[in-house]
Structure formats: C-alpha cells, structure tokens
C-alpha cells in the first residue's frame, strides 16, 4: 500500500486540539502515523494553503433501503436532465434528491465524507438495506433499525421487562446487522395502522396501552443496559406541525437523569435528529415561527443530548420517513403523489415529493430554524450538520449549508432573496445572529462530534497517529478565506484529495478509486433468554408473513463487515 506524507496543510483536528496549525501527516497501511515515522519513499502531497481534516461523518441520512428505492422508482422525474457521462473510474450516476447508490457514494466522497449512517432500517427489509449499502461505493455505512413502534418492544416496556427488551434488541441487531436503536414517531406509527397518530408524548398507543414517553425512556434504558456504541436516536412525535416545540421539549426532558453507560467514550443518552422539523412555534401556518432558541436553551444545558440540524436547503426534494401519518398529512397539504407502506409488526413508511420554495414564507422560516439551531449551539461537539437527506434537502447541499453557517453575508443574501423576507425576519432570529462557524467548529460538527456520538471516536473523526487514515484535503486557505462566500461552498463541494483507509479515492474532485467500503454493525452478547426466544418463535408463527429462519441477514449481505462486539452478559 502506498505511503503518503501530507505536507504543510492547515490541520483542523478537535481530537488533538489542532486549530489550523501547519502540520505534516503521515499515512501508512490504512492508519495515520507521525510525520517522522514516514519512510523516504512515501509519496508527498503538497497541501500548502489547503485545509486538512479527517473524513467527515454523516450521522443521519436516508441513503439505502426500501423507502429510498420507492422514491427512486416512483420519481423518474428526479433523474431527468441530471445523468452524466461516465468517467474511467466511475459508473453511471443519476438522480438529485434520491441519487442512485453509485452517485450516493461518489457525492459523499467528493465532499470529503467517509461514513454515512442510514437512519431508518425497517428490520423486516434489512436485507434490502444491506444490498444497497454493499453497492454504495467508497463510504463506510451502518444502519439503525427502527424500534419505536415494534410490538415486542412495546409489550416488554409496558410490562417493565427491561431485560427482555434488551435481549430482544440485541437479537434484532444481530439478525438485521444493525448499528443501534432508532425511534421514529414512537407509538404514532403503530397508531397510524389504526388511522390515528400520537401527537404528544402522553397519547396512548391504541391496543398496546403504552405512551410514547414510556417507549422513549424504556429504549434509553435498554440502550444503556446493552452499552451500545450509539445512543437511542430519536425522531420525536408531532413532526412538522406549528407549535410542536412543546412536544420536543417534553421529549428532550426524558433524557434527564439518564447516564451513558458504555466503553466507547459516548456521553449522550439521546440523539435528537433533524430538530429543525421539531422546533416550530405558532398555532397555525399563519403564525408559524421559530422556537430554535427555546429548544437550544434546553439542549445546551443537557450534556447527555446530541442533535443534528435537518437544515432546509430550498430545493425540490423527496420526503421519506417511517413516520407514516406525517407523510399522509403532507400529501393532504401539497397534493403530490403519496406512497405508503405498512411493515407488519414493526413500522411503516411514507414518501411524498416536496418543493421548499424561497417564495413560501413557511419554507423560508424552516430554512432559518435549521441554521439557528446550529448557531445557538454552544457545544459544536453535540450539534451536527444534516439535512435529514432527502427530507429537508439532498445531502449534496452540505457545502451550501456550511457556507450559510460560516458566513453572515451569505445568510443575508439568502434572506434578501426571499419573497416575503420581512415576514421571515419577524418570525425568526436569524437576521440578528452574527455568529460565524469557524473551521475548527466545523470539524467538531462534522468529524469529531459525530464520531464520538456514534461511539467510534477511538478510530474515526480525527487525525491522531493510530487512527484510521480517512483524510480530506480542501482547496481552502484558512489564512486567506474567500471574500465571496461562494468560494466556501465551492471548496467544500470538491475535495482536492480524499484518502479512505489510506487509499487515495478522490483527486481534484474526481473519483479515482472505489475504495474498500465496510458495513458497520453491532453484535451484543446477552444472557440466554428463553422467554424472548419463545416470544419471537410465537410471533413469527402467528403474525409474520415469513419464517423466522428467513429473517436473518446472512454474512454474504455484508461481506466487508466492521463488527463491534459487546459483552452485556454481566
């Protein structure tokens, strides 16, 4: 394997506390090594006047699996006019908001990303998720199975059987090759099967007679009982409705009193995702306003919570979520085509196209809220960049989100471009916010922070010797930042170089190598639990449409695994 010496770059590495100092970085056998240990035959990369960071990590995106594919097949118009010629190294790419698997891998790599977490894996269809993950080149990926509306989980938690809930979740993670516990509209998606929803954390789930609050708290306890690398990852109740910030505050308060128990250095017990969709004030669309400050005041005070933004990028996109009732609500609002799926005992999903228009005041306020969350965040190690791809916008817009975060001038230009900018300014705080995120904070929000929250900080998200050699080099000179904010977007759109596991995979913004992607999953050993295995057998016999033996995702579906083994027997 080629040895590299990256010379004279401005390094930003929160793991070592390096804030833009010029420093040489060595790469050997897929790992970072000290510059002095590099042999004379190493290939030198001149990074003078460039920014050097670890590979960026995506904590929440819908990039693989059945609902992404529903979006692809029922939106052929998403591929119209954006196919491109293949290069020598790449395969055909297509799609904008729901790109093909190849385009997904290439686009993340071109932006300097080396890891993406698929945010919602329906356990029953996890084979499909893994097939797509396997076909997505370059980037490492994991997937979070959805458990917040799972019949087993709801029954165990209702009966306060924490150990059974943990044994079931451990069994499910192994069956599905999943990474952690995802919760989507807890109880509400199950209620949707009855044509209902849970709009607060205290609405009882029909038949199961449990509340979303009990599900959330129960799954936090389950997560810490098992000591998983990631925390319970939640999309809360009542997403997308005016005035929902109270439900969000209630949800966030459920983390209080819980402490992270794990050996991975993770400190949070709750990751609250795409918080933009959950930070709305007002009592209708006419009085719709930002409550980002109220939400972030609580998040800033709660060191055991991490968040991601879910920033609206003002594009035509495709919304997709396991929050079935929300998607129905959305299609009633915009009258565009709606797909809806029920996943047996586990979850549901819906898909609806959506156009975030700068001419629509509500959309412009949503844009502001997403950015406000990050600008209010006091600890960039706990607030991560996301667009909830593709829900608030495609992940390919991260460079634009970064531009808005790093430049007040860019935000002002966008506010001015809104049709009703005075209404937007009146309903938000964005126009008064002077903060500009710096490159070190950006490295915290996109590298070290997500790595820590995912329990991967030992090897990922930093550039210390011994860590995995995922390195992104940008054409951005911190000493001479571009006067025009467009220069920031341009620099983060196309890396000068990207190294993945020590291999150069992108050069001058062009993909040159498919790398060796890995599938991350968590294998937890728990005490033998005859009750849970009996319940599994019975539910498969009585309710599931397939046999228990056909449920497991075989090894062949994840032929390049990165397995995190945990012993939770004691």
């Amino acid at each position: 394997m080629t040895e590299y010496l990256i010379k004279n770059g401005h390094v930003f590495d929160p793991v070592q506390g390096i804030k833009g100092d010029r420093k040489d970085i060595g790469i050997k056998d897929g790992k970072i090594i000290g510059a002095s240990e590099v042999s004379p035959s190493a290939k030198a990369i001149d990074a003078k006047g460039k920014t050097v960071m670890a590979g960026a990590m995506e904590i929440h995106a819908h990039v693989a699996g059945p609902k992404v594919n529903v979006g692809r097949w029922y939106r052929p118009e998403d591929k119209l006019f954006n196919s491109c010629k293949i290069s020598e190294a790449t395969r055909i790419e297509g799609g904008f908001s729901i790109p093909t698997v190849f385009k997904t891998g290439y686009e993340y790599a071109r932006m300097g990303y080396t890891f993406a977490m698929e945010a919602a894996m329906p356990p029953l269809y996890s084979r499909h998720v893994h097939e797509e993950i396997h076909d997505t080149p370059i980037i490492d990926e994991g997937a979070l199975p959805v458990l917040g509306n799972n019949w087993f989980v709801m029954e165990y938690l209702k009966n306060k059987e924490l150990e059974n809930s943990a044994a079931y979740c451990a069994w499910l993670l192994r069956q599905t090759k999943g990474y952690g516990i995802k919760v989507v509209n807890p109880g509400g998606t199950e209620a949707w099967a009855w044509g209902l929803n849970c709009l607060t954390i205290n609405d009882p789930v029909p038949y199961f007679d449990i509340t979303p609050a009990e599900i959330i708290a129960g799954l936090i306890e389950t997560n810490e009982f098992l000591g998983l690398p990631h925390s319970m990852h939640i999309h809360g109740n009542n997403l997308g409705n005016p005035g929902n910030y109270n439900v969000t505050l209630d949800t966030l308060k459920l983390a209080k009193g819980h402490k992270a128990k794990n050996t991975f250095g993770r400190e949070q017990v709750m990751h609250a995702t795409h918080l933009q969709f959950h930070s709305y004030g007002g009592d209708g669309w006419g009085t719709f306003e930002s409550k980002a400050k109220d939400i972030m005041d609580l998040v800033n005070k709660s060191p055991n919570i991490t968040i991601d933004m879910g920033c609206v990028t003002l594009d035509e996109t495709t919304t997709m979520t396991a929050d079935g009732p929300f998607e129905h609500h959305l299609t009633e609002l915009n009258h565009l085509k709606w797909a809806n799926v029920d996943v047996e005992l586990e979850t549901a999903a819906g898909v609806v196209p959506y156009i975030y228009s700068p001419n629509i005041t509500v959309n412009a306020i949503q844009w502001a809220i997403g950015l406000e969350l990050a600008l209010y965040a006091r600890d960039p190690m706990r607030c991560f960049i996301s667009t909830d791809h593709p829900n608030a916008g495609p992940f390919t817009r991260y460079p634009r989100v970064i531009k808005w975060l790093m430049s007040k001038k860019a935000r002002e230009a966008q506010i001015k471009a809104f049709k009703n900018s005075d209404k937007v300014v009146a309903a938000t705080e964005i126009a008064n916010m002077n903060r500009e995120i710096g490159l070190y904070e950006l490295a915290q929000m996109t590298r070290a922070g997500p790595a820590k929250a995912l329990g991967l900080a030992a090897n990922y998200g930093g550039l210390a010797p011994g860590m995995n050699a995922d390195v992104a080099i940008y054409n951005l000179d911190p000493a001479k930042m571009p006067a025009d904010p467009e220069g920031i977007e341009k620099a983060f759109s196309a890396v000068a170089y990207l190294f993945k596991d020590g291999r150069m995979v992108v050069k001058d913004g062009a993909v040159i190598d498919h790398g060796q992607k890995k599938t991350f999953w968590v294998d937890v050993k728990v005490k033998e639990n005859k009750q849970v295995m009996h319940d599994v057998r019975e539910k498969f016999l009585r309710y599931y449409s397939l046999n228990e033996g056909n449920y497991l995702v075989p090894e062949s579906y994840a032929p390049h695994p990165y397995v995190i083994a945990i012993d939770a027997t004691s």
Partner: protein, 266 residues
Amino acid sequence: MKTVTLTPTKKPELILEADSITPDNFAGKTAEQIAQLSVYQGKQDCTLGEFFSVAGQAGPTAAETRIVINGDCSKVKYIGSKMSAGEVIVNGDTDMYTGAWMKGGKLYVKGSVHSFCGLGMEGGEFLIDGNAGNYLAASYRGDWRGMQGGLIRVKGNVGSDICSFMNGGTVIIEGNADVHIMTHAEGGKTIIKGNVKRRIGGQMVKGEAILFGDVDVMMPGYKYVRDVEMEVDGTKAMFHEFIGDLGERHPKRKGETVYGKFYMKV
C-alpha cells in the same frame, strides 16, 4: 431574421438525440460551428454535421434565428426542445420529445410527430400538420407538471394520454383522439374537433375539455349542469356543460368550489 438550413444526409442507425437543434443553441454560430454541435446516437457522442448538411447562418440571438430542416427526421428526437425564441420549421416527420419543455418561439412540423411532444411546454406556438402520438402536452413520466402555457395545434389525429397533468395553455386537435384526455389536469384548455374514445377528464381537478364530436363512453364522475353558447376557435355553437371529476378533490376560490369542465357540442 437569419435562416439556417439543415438537410439530412445520413439516416442514423439508432435514434439521434438532438437537443442541440434549437435557435438558442444555434444563435451566434456559423454553419461550421453548428455542424460541430453535439448529438448522441446511443451512447456515442457525434456531431450534427455527421447527419445533416448545414447551410446559412444563425442570427445573433435565438429570436433572430430560423431553422429549416428539409427532410425526414422520424429518427431524430428533441428537435426544438427547451427553445425559448426564434423559429424551427421541419419539412418532414419528427420523433419523440419534439418541442418538449418549449418556452417560446414558433415550432412548425409539416409532417407528423411521435409521442411525448410538447411535454411540459411553458410557452410559444407549436403547429403540427400531420398526426401526433401519445402523451402530447403531458408531463414527463412521474412528474405532475404537464403543459403550463402556450399553444399546440394538431391538424390530424392524436394518440392516447394527451394533456395528462396539464396545468395551463391551449391544445387544439382538429382530428380524433384516443383514450385518456386531460387526466389529472389542474388547468389549461383542450379542444378536440373530432371524436374521442373514452375517459376524457378523468381525475381532472381544474381545466376545460371541449369536444365537437362524440365520445364512446362518458366518464361517470361528470354531472350535467346547463347548455351554454360559446365561441370556440372561431366556431360559435351550443354546448352541454358538465362539471367533474366529482371523484377528485376540488379547491375553493372565493367561497366557490372550482371544478373541471367538460363541454360537448349539442
């Protein structure tokens, strides 16, 4: 206005994707430069000059450019697609996507056109002396944005699914039409001088369909309201007025429910 004349010299083996044939792409170019414009044959990137001889010169802008094609283009797609101004005249037939997403100017095909022509058209004038295939003035597959504006006139007959998801503009068919007209439409006007087979205005939310001839089977979701005298494309006549599709949602405007309208000549 300056004229560029294209004459087919070689019939493509596959189908030519020639979205470069528009006044916008020709504007400001000499015949030699135009011959170098890119066209795709399958996955091969070819030049226009390999299939056409180019004579004359383009005007400085699209509006001052006229393109005349003398010959058969029944294996050439995308002629005049996305054009914003100027003129294109085809003395022959054309293939799919002719005039698709056209924004302005004038497109005149003296022969017949294939399917998906005038797709998502936003403005301008598109005349067809012969027949048109399916999905004329409709939306692209999966899309909900059919014809938005402008005028299409077909002297002959048309295929099925014309004006699907139409949102605006006018389509005049002087001959007959097959099944499915203005399905899912939310605006626009379709006039058919001949007969229609079935399913006119299915799931139509808004818009007008005006029929001079007969329809084999009427949609069940339409309700007769009155007889009305109208002047349609120069002809004054009495029409039965129906509203529908009553199985579809309908928006309210100033307290009144807006329906799709279907007029049938008495």
